[in-house]
Subunit: 509 residues, 2 copies
């Protein structure tokens, strides 16, 4: 008995909270001269298993020499602290982690092996349990992008992503959902579609991602209008009360692995087809969707550049959706320029409000797109006859019923908010007179990100021109919005160095 | 003037040393409520540029909340501290980093683009300057492994690796060198070859790597016999005095990017052909080699599994060497079982000493291999007639001259050491009587690593059997060596769970 007790004591350390925020990377801080580091041969950057409160995680070791920690003390990064559910002074136990066997599957994928369903499941189970370091996560994502995923692997990845998270069962059908295969700034139709279809009696428990490589995701925009980090219980309550919600998928723990992968994809600025399909459909399947409309904008600087690419991606989406028992259909849309005027979370939210409130100067392209997609859902879910969905959706919007429903949803999610306004603005003037002949969506997104979006909700830009429009030299093309002078200047410099972001075709008089 | 001064003051923070060791990952610690974080929109895990003392690095931001840092203070991880050459109280300046443009080349590689020489150079210049995060390094390595590198890319990568580091010029020719394309535990011929060829008047400034995925690299083994972290000046002094050295390449700053890549490759446990060729030859070119012998062990559980694979790898090595003006040749050797008896830094060092001292029980396979490779170098560099190199090398070894030279080299490197002995040993007995029919090099390496090698220099294992040998049930097959009970048990468990590590073929009586 004594020997057991002393063994535990020997390996136990008491937690001291240092309050170091490493984002979601789990780090443990231990003294370099700690008896456990010496006994177990742990050195800086080792991966170690940390047990506390009956939970366990794998963390990266950082060692300390300068008295931050007393003998017998250790600390954890804030995300690890929360994940283990520990408190100041709690005992923790540190040991060598078992080898992460699923890394063998990642290596096999690097060298061209096709991943089976059980292999995908093992990988994602380890990822969601925090057993992969950033280096290993990056390798998995890069290998899947470089080698590509075949249709069977995409289905396997999607199913595995659903399996390692929670899944909602609404007990009714249809459950409708909508997704846009990004790449088009300002295309924020979701907060308009949800209230429209909810008004027509369809149930739409919409969960959205935050931005991956774009200046705003629907969750980022919606967060400026209402809380989006709903627990599963809250999400269910909102949807059962109002028929719809517009929430962040990560907080509901639907497809939790997706948020881990998205963080790494964002650092790499990659987002490849198989992962995109799995990311989209795992969220839909986990949310219990039975009917789904997919918006595929096509344009030279959109994510989908040609009708051929749209056909290939559309097929992968439809095949994977069918394997998950989701009735999906694809709507190809114009992707040659941004939708609406704002680019950035709050700036897009103002456009959404203008459409819902039927304001005279509301962006008509945003309105038309939302009506088209909502109409398509109404038809496929049997609420409208073929060809009559758009008319029904348009009528619900014009009548003000969609706006009332949107306010009710925001209230149910925790209360409506006013989107923030930026501290600094600056106009980009037209360098010459002529007509707008080309708009580069990617460069506009880049500029909006340099201005601070999506981290700064009020940052981004507002378009003052559209394709084909005639402009006079000096007239505004774009207004930049930022919360710091540094970021404003960064975006300004970008426009100066990339005049081809918005191209003006000049003619001889 | 005042406004300039105040701007600098506003952005300046004073360094406080917290002594946090993150290995070589650069981390900056700043208060979450610091005015710079707020003004610049920095959040945890952001990548920021840190300037001090006229140097600059890119670091990952960790934010703190709990009073570790006072207002106006910041800290750096130990490696970043050393890299910037700062002292307690020094001012540092923190800003948004410029975009790392070469990441576009990495993305292009992921999607199948072939990397040009200038693109390789841009990537490696950014890596060596610390501009890549672990996630980005991992993506580059994985992309090169998954997509493969064609011969032009391998040459481009090798040249770029040489270009971003220092390069030695000895002012004489020939400069000989040797490399074994790993995967074979115990194959520690370098410390025997260097003194042999140095005795014959050849100059061999040998720099070696530490282990990548193996339980010991030559630098790890040699470090148990003498200091290996020689500065360039020391390395030159040793070689000019004794004709040879056995040093760690990283300390000499030859091909510094290689050590960064190796750390990530180790975390991923991958080591693919193009990167291996570049890693090997960049070190040789940087060390000024003109003549090179390459040992390619072939066996089912060696790195090179077949003669075809050896032919392909050999050709890539020879083509790349030729592009770098190195006269290389390849010696194919037996890779079906470990060389010598020890596996692990110190255990291999004892075998090296036994061969150099002509002890009666010295491992003959290790001796023969060293003599073969040394002989090959003597011939190619014109010191021995064709077919007479091995005899010359054998005579130098038997005469004790190689042993005397080895001691002189160790003295010149800083003083000869006695390799450490492990604290715990345990025998793995033969599970049955019969003969040894198969030995799995990879599993033996894995077991030696679980026992603590290469971090614990004394850890690893000693083979008590060879292929074809008859053993009686209960007789030792292997002796495990470890410095902690935990690691000893870990290796023991591995042998229990993997009886096929050493297979005994039993016969009916």
């Amino acid at each position: 008995m004594t020997s057991h007790g002393s063994k535990t004591a020997r390996n136990g350390l008491r937690l001291k909270r240092l309050g170091i925020d490493t984002h979601d990377e789990a780090v443990i801080y231990m003294r370099k001269d700690c008896h456990i580091c010496r006994a177990e041969g742990f050195t800086a950057h080792a991966r170690v298993r940390v047990r506390a409160n009956g939970n366990s995680i794998i963390a990266t070791l950082n060692t300390t020499t300068d008295g931050m920690l007393a003998q017998g003390q250790a600390s954890l990064s804030e995300s690890a602290w929360i994940r283990l559910g520990v408190a100041e002074g709690d005992p923790i136990y540190v040991e060598h982690p078992s080898p992460v066997d699923s890394l063998g599957h990642v290596r096999a994928k690097i060298y061209g092996h096709t991943l089976t369903d059980p292999e995908m499941n093992e990988i994602l189970t380890d990822i969601v349990a925090g057993r992969y370091s950033d280096i290993q996560l990056s390798s998995f994502i890069t290998a899947c992008s470089a080698r590509g995923l075949n249709q069977t692997e995409v289905i396997g990845l999607t199913r595995a992503m659903v399996d390692v998270g929670k899944r909602l069962d609404w007990g009714v059908s249809p459950i409708v959902d909508k997704h846009c295969v990004g790449g088009l700034p300002g295309n924020r139709t979701t907060p308009i579609i949800v209230p429209i279809v909810a008004c027509c009696g369809l149930m739409m428990p919409k969960t959205s991602s935050r931005a991956i490589t774009s200046p705003a995701g629907t969750a980022d925009t919606m967060e400026t209008l209402a809380p989006v980090e709903l627990s599963l219980a809250d999400l269910r309550r909102v949807v059962e009360k109002e028929g719809g919600c517009i929430a962040w998928g990560g907080a509901a723990d639907l497809s939790p692995v997706d948020d881990i992968l998205i963080r790494v994809e964002r650092a790499l600025d990659i987002d490849s087809e198989g992962q995109m399909v799995a990311s989209v459909l795992s969220k839909k399947a986990a949310a219990g969707a039975t009917h789904l409309v997919l918006d595929l904008p096509i344009g030279p600087t959109a994510k989908v550049r040609s009708r051929q690419d749209a056909a290939s991606l559309g097929e992968s989406l439809l095949t994977t959706a069918a394997a998950l028992d989701i009735n999906a259909h694809v709507v190809e849309t114009d992707g040659t320029q941004p939708v609406g005027r704002g680019i950035g979370p709050a700036l897009e939210a103002w456009n959404v409000l203008a459409v819902l409130q039927n304001e005279a100067d509301a962006p008509q392209d945003l309105r038309e797109r939302a009506v088209l997609l909502a109409g398509s859902l109404l038809e496929s879910a049997g609420r409208a006859a073929a060809g009559e969905g758009s008319a029904m959706a348009g009528e619900v919007l014009s009548s003000g019923r969609a706006w009332a429903k949107f306010q009710a949803i925001c209230d149910a999610q925790g209360g409506m908010r006013t989107p923030p306004r930026s501290k600094f603005q600056e106009i980009i003037p037209a360098p010459a007179s002529g007509s707008v002949v080309r708009i580069d969506n990617r460069r506009l997104s880049r500029a909006a990100k340099l201005a601070g979006a999506p981290e700064d909700k009020a940052a981004g830009l507002v378009m003052a021109c559209r394709l084909g429009q005639r402009v006079t030299k000096g007239e505004p093309l774009v207004t930049l919005h930022a919360d710091s002078k540094g970021e404003l200047n960064y975006a300004l410099d970008y426009f100066r160095n990339h005049p081809q972001t918005i191209e003006i075709g000049t003619e001889d008089a």
